[in-house]
Amino acid sequence: MFRSSSLRLATFYTVAFALAVVVLGVVTVLTTRNALGRQFDGRIRAESASLAQEYRTEGLLGVVQAVRERDRTPGALDFGLRDAAGTAIAGRLAATPAPLGWSILKSRGTDEDVDRTRIYATRLPGGYRLLVGDDTERAEILDGALIKSFTFAFFGVIVLGVVGGYGLSRGVHRRLASITGAAEAIIDGDLSRRVPVHGADDDLDRLAATLNRMLDRIAGLMENLRHVSNDIAHDLRTPLTRLRGRLEAALVRPGLAEHRDLLEGAIVELDALLGAFAALLRIAQIEAGARRAAFHRIGLAEVAATVVEAFAPSAEDAGATLRLEARANPHIEGDPELLTQMLVNLVENALRHAGPHPDIRVVCRTVADAPVLSVIDDGPGVPVAERERLFDRFHRLESSRSTAGSGLGLALVSAVAKLHGAEASLHDARPGLEARIAFSRAAT
């Protein structure tokens, strides 16, 4: 969930939007503060000009009257009038010794706050000084309201982003998980599975539809392949059955009795060919995953015990020792017949290629909770460069080309291992070779 791309995208957008809100807030507050300041200053100047006009038309008395009148009006600006000697004449600001021009007056207000008043002082004819001031509190209240609403917006964006992003990515995650699930089922061999389409006709649905078309195509190709291999099996089977029949009939024909060894040799060769052919078809079918339906719960040590018990007498007669080392008996979901054949192939490989008197151990154990089956011999081993390729079809070591075998044994081992979600590999057993089938922990 936390490694999902949709969640990352949602987080990115949330952070981006939150940053945008912060920037927008700062710009708005600064702009508003600036505009308001100019507006307030304009009002102060206008009042100051109007009082100066009053002085010119009505004289000092007119100004004093006007100042007193405005002092009584609620919401009006603050005013003050001083004479040349600095004596207060009228108005709340009259006692303030402000310089000419703009200045700020700080005064202790009703509570702990410091009231700040912006004052504009002008000189009237006759040495009088006219002060017009405005409490900056009004601008500050507006500032505060703006900052507060942007703070709310900031946290709102974060909460919306987190909640929305979580919900969104959960939805996307669920749909992606259904696609992943379908893909896993197909990998496991269920070629009829399709990716579910939600019907919203969005990008995910289009992706699902495209994947499904691709799967249809793959299924079609697989079906063709199956048909071809079935056809080959069927079309070759009839002539090969006839051929084998003719050879067998020739064996009992009186005049041909002296060629018996030739005929028997031909039958042996034919059977080897048929064996390789059947093994190829079998590997193809295992790789197609068709056998998964036959899976059930089995103990690996029991499979190993059956094989060791069956082969130990033959091994002994051949001067080899074959023994089971069951350090654990992990149970997995599997096909006992195929697992048995897999192990038989490995044991037979060891019997054939591990030298004259090999000591062969079939080891069943768990490594970090994952089941591992190994067939370990003390023979000459296999060069590192060859180990991977030995699992390929028909690949054989140069040194073993002269011995019997089709080169399909390990290919079948690899196919059976893959069918069970396991990995087949060859390792140096120092001395000798270890053929290892490592199952995944999930198989248990």
């Binding site: 291999s229 079935n230 099996a233 069927h234 089977r237 009839t238 090969l240 059955t241 006839r242 051929l243 084998r244 029949g245 003719r246 067998e248 009939a249 039958i267 048929l274 064996g275 052919f277 059947a278 093994a279 190829l280 078809l281 079998r282 193809a284 079918q285 295992i286 068709a290 056998r291 036959a294 059956t306 018990e309 069956a310 082969f311 007498p313 033959s314 007669d317 017949e337 048995t340 054949q341 038989v344 044991v347 037979e348 019997l351 054939r352 019997a404 075998g405």
Partner: protein
């Protein structure tokens, strides 16, 4: 024995018919699934040999139809090579045994023989006896001429299989399938090895051999 052979390839059918006749069996041949079904329903046979792949009506459908009409005749299915699930499918459809094509004739003959005289399922025997060889299936005790013989579990199973098929040929693959449950062909001679050990344990200097090797076919346990 009277056999029904359902096989579409005329050359194979002719060869099998001739060889089965030589082995002392009477054979009716059917070249298509329909003919086979008609014969199987009308006549009484000891064993039916049925090819799985037939034109028109395939072997499994015929088998199901035969079994649905309560015909209990043992059926030996001939299946295509390489087919992994063929055996399971064939046995589920009501087949009694299967053989992968192409096969050795001796194998077919041995399996037909084993099927024909298969004891009925309800026949529960507690002891087997061939000449002076005795096997108690309850105590799992084996003796020859009154002298007890110790057998490994697998050797016991092998001997039991041979004794149940006494007088008939059993092939290497038949033993691999029924004794070891191996449905593939190991390259190692595990049957031969077990058989020679079993022979060694059954051997008595003065008494005749009971297990005989049949060249090119398999083994046969029979009274001397």
């Amino acid at each position: 024995m009277k056999l029904l052979l359902v096989e579409d390839d005329s050359e194979t059918a002719a060869w099998l018919k001739r060889a089965l006749n030589e082995a002392g069996h009477t054979v009716d041949c059917a070249a298509s699934g329909r003919d086979g079904l008609l014969l199987a329903a009308g006549e009484t046979y000891d064993v039916i040999v049925l090819d799985r792949m037939l034109p028109q009506l395939d072997g499994l459908s015929i088998l199901r139809t035969i079994r649905a009409s309560k015909v209990q005749t043992p059926v030996l299915l001939l299946t295509a090579m390489g087919g992994i699930d063929d055996r399971v499918e064939g046995l589920e459809a009501g087949g009694d045994d299967y053989l992968v094509k192409p096969f050795a004739f001796a194998e077919l003959l041995a399996r037909v023989g084993a099927l024909a005289r298969r004891p009925p399922a309800q026949d529960v025997r507690t002891a087997l006896k061939v000449a002076d060889l005795e096997m108690n299936l309850l105590t799992r005790a084996v003796s020859r001429g009154g002298i007890r013989i110790d057998l490994q579990p697998r050797e016991f199973q092998l001997l039991e299989y041979l004794m149940r098929h006494a007088g008939r040929v059993v092939t290497r693959t038949m033993m691999l399938e029924s004794v070891w449950d191996f449905h593939f062909d190991p390259k190692t001679n595990i049957v031969e090895t077990h058989m020679s050990r079993l022979r060694g344990k059954l051997h008595r200097d003065e008494a005749p051999e009971l297990i005989h090797t049949i060249r090119g076919a398999g083994y046969c346990l029979r009274e001397p």
